[in-house]
Amino acid sequence: MSERATPTTDQTEETDPAEAADETGETTDRSADAAGETAATGTESPADTGVETGAEAVVAALEDAGAETLFGVQGGAIMPVYDALYDSELTHVTMAHEQGAAHAADAYGVVSGDPGVCLATSGPGATNLVTGIADADMDSDAMLALTGQVPSQMVGSDAFQETDTTGVTAPITKHNYFAGDPDTVGDTVGEAFALSAEGRPGPTLVDLPKDTTLAETDSDPGPAETPETYSVEEDPDDEQVAVAARAVERAEKPLLLFGGGVVKSDACQEARGFAIDHGIPVATTMPAIGSMPEDHELCLSWAGMHGTGYANMAITHTDCLIAVGTRFDDRLTGGVETFAPEAEVVHVDIDPAEISKNVHADYPVVGDAGTAIERLSAEMDRSPRTREWREQCQSWKDEYPLAYATPEDEPLKPQFVVEAFDEATDDDAIVTTGVGQHQMWAAQFWTYKSPRTWVSSHGLGTMGYGVPAAVGARIAADDDQQVVCFDGDGSFLMTMQEISVAVRENLDITVAVLNNRYIGMVRQWQDAFFEGRQMAADYDWCPEFDKMAEAFGAKGLRVDDYDEVADAVEAALNYDGPAVIDFHIDPAENVYPMVPSGGANGKFALSEDQL
């Protein structure tokens, strides 16, 4: 099919008016102009050398905006942009699947703090990006997606590899653009890049019809700026801060809740300082894991469905919840009727639409997290009296420990594997995950100490996120930072083709597949809520992942018993390149504590019979 279809596109290209215009030979003049400009300003920005096509403007805009690495897959409609990349300083990482490109770009952004960029061709390339874009949208991750599109004059005709990409991605992007004009396409790409990171971050997309990228233009993109209609209030209102400060001062059982916004706005320093200065215990959301060192006595780790019992107890009993940069997702709150039922809520967020969206904010503070926290602290005349409350929180830590049974004779417990890796790695090692039970164990049994070391799919819960995220994280991370991906057998199966990329690029990552031969989280729910009817949850048909890894050219290991764990972990971490360990774990192991969907946080179950 596709072989017959391909010549059709080629025909289109041949008759492309923009391409025909290429032969007019005007380019020499423009280069001369541009050279003069470079001499005059003395800058060496690549854009100053003068762009000649829309595609070059796209690339120049990316360079100007500070992008360094792109993740993508080639294709007909995006080919002009790739052609322009040929002469560029930007690094392009070819991924095995566009979903991988989107997740890698997302993770690159999470780790580096700068927007990640992914590219795909039109139609199937663009639709393959969709999961990754939706994932970044739900987690408010800055990311720019560039998609090829059929030539403008064919848009709407159901042309070969045409998809209404702006239509498909409108609900899952912060904003998207159809770039119909070669003279402004560079500015549009710069704007999209800047917009993705401004205020509350999120993915943006620019759809690039082939005639736009092929067409001649001499418009060098200007500086990457967000549009005027997008205005963000960074500085909170004095009055809002003042009344919130009074509420915190008079609280007897105040609790800080750090959300992903604390990490994204690089406000961890201020947030930790606030907690310590005022002696206020801290719970985090999952995306905020690492914002507060989990070994700090004020830290209660993360709250929510599989969060710690002590964080959930604290949320249930606090009288003043100071929530920073969280959107009160239902996996965090359980049923809102029972969420922090006696607390006055101070809600700090840069996005006014998050205020009182799910949980009513008694004291809204709209602004940048770091700025708002500092202002709040400066405004407080005294700290709340929290000694008793802190003692209470400590005693909950003793009452509800994260623990598991490990008699040596039973199948290997996944929690043990996570702890073994935590022991063997440095404090700033990065963890990526798939989605399922293994993700929860990785979050529970690893002690996170630094922000941007936990890279996972939260809001969308995308199985298969782990391996491509490890690729993106590896490229963004410092050379001496270790990257470990905890994956499930089901999740690994979805995107393990990206191991081939890690092999090609010789990326030093370790993938620990916590292989329970089930899509375990589903099996856990079927056991708990569907009378053990394990429909389509059995994954004993998976390939042998160590051999699969070897086939890709990676190092493959397999572990069945406790006494093999330490050696395998060491061997994988020491291996220079991607290593995959297939850990055959106890298939019956479940994730606890658990707040049943819509339940009350304080009523978390510690075992199945409590559900």
Partner: protein
């Protein structure tokens, strides 16, 4: 799964945590849900803290929201997409150009709770092409147009009702009469009721559009241009922009 099944064996090989004496075979140690203290506080479905004894049903009301937007392709689909995606109860949506070139006004009537209306406004304001959003006061000037086609058996009576509602006859034939009525929602509803006696064949309603009364701008800070027929083509949007003071 109960704690009796818990093996006696400790967790010596566990490198991270201290061995816990009573870790059940499949689950975690700690007091069960019923053994824990629970506060009696409560919120309603909108997340507002309420009297634990009180009724928690939020009340719905109708609000007219006006959004000033950049007149660019796709803006209407973004707005309507937002409404379906977020499950807002939308009664009507009208759109048209304003006095400023490149701007359009979208007028929405929504039926929501107070927090819901707040969300409508804030979510709208987040859209990149949206410049300003405002909710109109009860005293705002509102109007709607309806075109009605009724049976033509009693043309005199139809004419009388049309006049009563200050409408116009657009088309009259032996079998059907088509009239137009403009006015606020109440008047339109009343008129439709009055025409029912003849047998209504078809109705087309535009939905409400509205402006704030007097000098109040319809969306906060809105600066209308003074469009004069002759200048409209030649002047840029910027020079057309004026304020209420000039």
């Amino acid at each position: 799964m109960s704690s009796e099944d818990a093996p006696d064996e400790g967790t010596d090989s566990n490198p991270g945590t201290e061995p816990h004496p009573e870790v059940p075979r499949n689950g975690m140690p700690g007091p069960s849900p019923d053994e824990r203290p629970h506060p009696s506080g409560r919120r309603n479905a909108k997340g507002i803290r309420i009297d634990p004894e009180a009724e928690a049903e939020p009340e719905y009301r109708s609000a007219v929201v006006s959004a000033l937007v950049e007149h660019e392709p796709g803006v209407l689909s973004r707005v309507s997409g937002l409404f379906s995606r977020r499950q807002f109860n939308i009664e009507s949506l009208t759109v048209g150009p304003t006095t400023v070139e490149g701007h359009a006004r979208i007028t929405l009537v929504v039926e929501e709770t107070d927090p819901g209306i707040d969300q409508v406004k804030k979510q709208l304001a987040k859209l990149k092409p949206v410049i300003q959003v405002g909710e109109l006061d009860d005293d705002a000037v509102r109007a709607e147009l309806v075109v009605l086609k009724v049976r033509g058996e009693e043309p005199d009576k139809v004419q009388a009702i049309t006049e009563m509602y200050e409408g116009r006859t657009l088309d009259a034939g032996p079998r059907t009469i088509t009239v137009q009525i403009t006015g606020d929602q109440q008047k339109i509803d009343d008129a439709i009721d009055a025409f029912r006696q003849f047998g209504i064949i078809e109705i087309a309603r535009t939905g409400q559009t509205a402006l704030a009364r007097g000098d109040t701008p319809t969306t906060p800070g809105e600066e209308p241009g003074h469009a004069k027929e002759s200048e409209q083509e030649s002047e840029s949007a910027e020079t057309q922009t004026g304020t209420y003071d000039d």
